[in-house]
Amino acid sequence: MNFHSVWFCIGLVTILGTLVSLRREHIRTEYSVSWLAVGIFLTTLAAWPALLDRISGRIGIDPEVFFLLAGGALISALVFEMTRVVSRLTDQNVMMAQRIAILEFQMREAATQNVTQDA
């Protein structure tokens, strides 16, 4: 297998894996778009080496190096986006945990007051 075939397969597996996970509801649609974009990018450039040669020629670097750099940049962008998502979810979790604790506390306090009044 040559360089292009390997990356074509990786791109295809990325697309298929994302679609299967979507179908099984293991990942949410909004987070699957980036992965599908990565898969389409990899398969497109791997399937049309002429396109890859043309783009890398314009930039003035080796096609294989361009391919790896572009793929790496996309993956890095994905990881960064995921970090943002995780950070946002962490903040939301903390807020919810605090809210639950405070509400639970107020409910217990109210119940205790009711018991005292009844007695």
Binding site: N93, V94, A97, Q98, A101, I102, E104, F105
Partner: protein, 250 residues
């Protein structure tokens, strides 16, 4: 006028994680020194009987459904106090390091100086005994750093013995660092143009459990806090630049 005639509402919060052996004494000593003041233990999802022991000692207990860390735990207390309309909140650690007898001095300083935050300092007029060597090194480092940022000396930047007024409660109930909050909040205060004041306090050896700042975690602690301080300084600069632009446009 009505404020001058009514007593300020004060709450003591005690963040605690696995402090079953110490928290009972802490609650009892606080209740002895501050009769009539609600003592609320914020149980950070302890695995031991911290919540039960605290309740038996006479405290109200807020039980977090998951472990949030020191910052998230303290912020829960601040949020609750703010929502319930409290004017002043004193934070006392659940490990017994802080002397309940010093609470009235922190409260008096909050009221008399009008500072938004009052810090109980183990170094102000004292030698800070019972402080581990790695912590002393960290404190010395952050003293120098904060002197540069705040423009005023701070003797005990890592103290958890802190009193805040309602203005600070409002800010901290919205934004508060989740980990190692003590140093970062000083920069937040500076950004908000709040004042802080230090009062001399005693510091006991922790009765049980382990400090969250061990020698092995010191490097991570330093890096984490440095990053937090740096980010807050950046926010301060951004806010300052915005204010300057507004002034110019006016």
């Amino acid at each position: 006028m009505e404020h001058a005639l009514t007593e300020p509402k004060v709450m003591v919060i005690v963040p605690a994680l696995n402090e079953a052996e110490a928290v009972g004494d802490v609650v009892r000593s606080v209740r002895r020194v501050m009769p009539g003041v609600p003592v609320v233990v914020i149980d950070d999802y302890s695995e031991d009987a911290t919540a039960t022991v605290a309740e038996s000692a006479g405290a109200s207990v807020v039980r977090l459904p998951v472990h949030l860390g020191a910052g998230g735990c303290v912020q829960t207390g601040y949020k609750m106090a703010y929502e319930l309309g409290y004017d002043y909140v004193i934070r006392v650690d659940g490990d017994g390091q802080h002397e309940a007898a010093d609470i009235p001095r922190i409260l008096d300083a909050l009221i008399s100086t009008g500072a938004e935050v009052v810090i109980g300092s183990r170094f102000l007029g004292r030698d800070g005994k019972h402080t581990s060597f790695p912590r002393l090194v960290g404190i010395a480092f952050f003293r120098i750093l904060l002197r540069l940022i705040l423009g005023t000396p701070i003797h005990d930047p890592t103290s958890g013995f802190v009193g805040v007024n309602r203005a600070a409660l409002q800010v901290f109930s919205r934004t508060f660092p989740l980990e190692y909050p003590e140093i970062e909040i000083l920069v937040v205060l500076q950004r908000k143009r709040f004042r802080f004041h230090e009062v001399s306090c005693r510091m006991n050896r922790r009765r049980t459990g382990r400090s969250s700042i061990t020698p092995f975690k010191s490097l991570r602690y330093m890096l984490h806090v440095l990053l937090g301080v740096f980010v807050n300084v950046l926010r301060f600069e951004a806010g300052h630049a915005e204010n300057e632009n507004k002034k110019e446009s006016q």
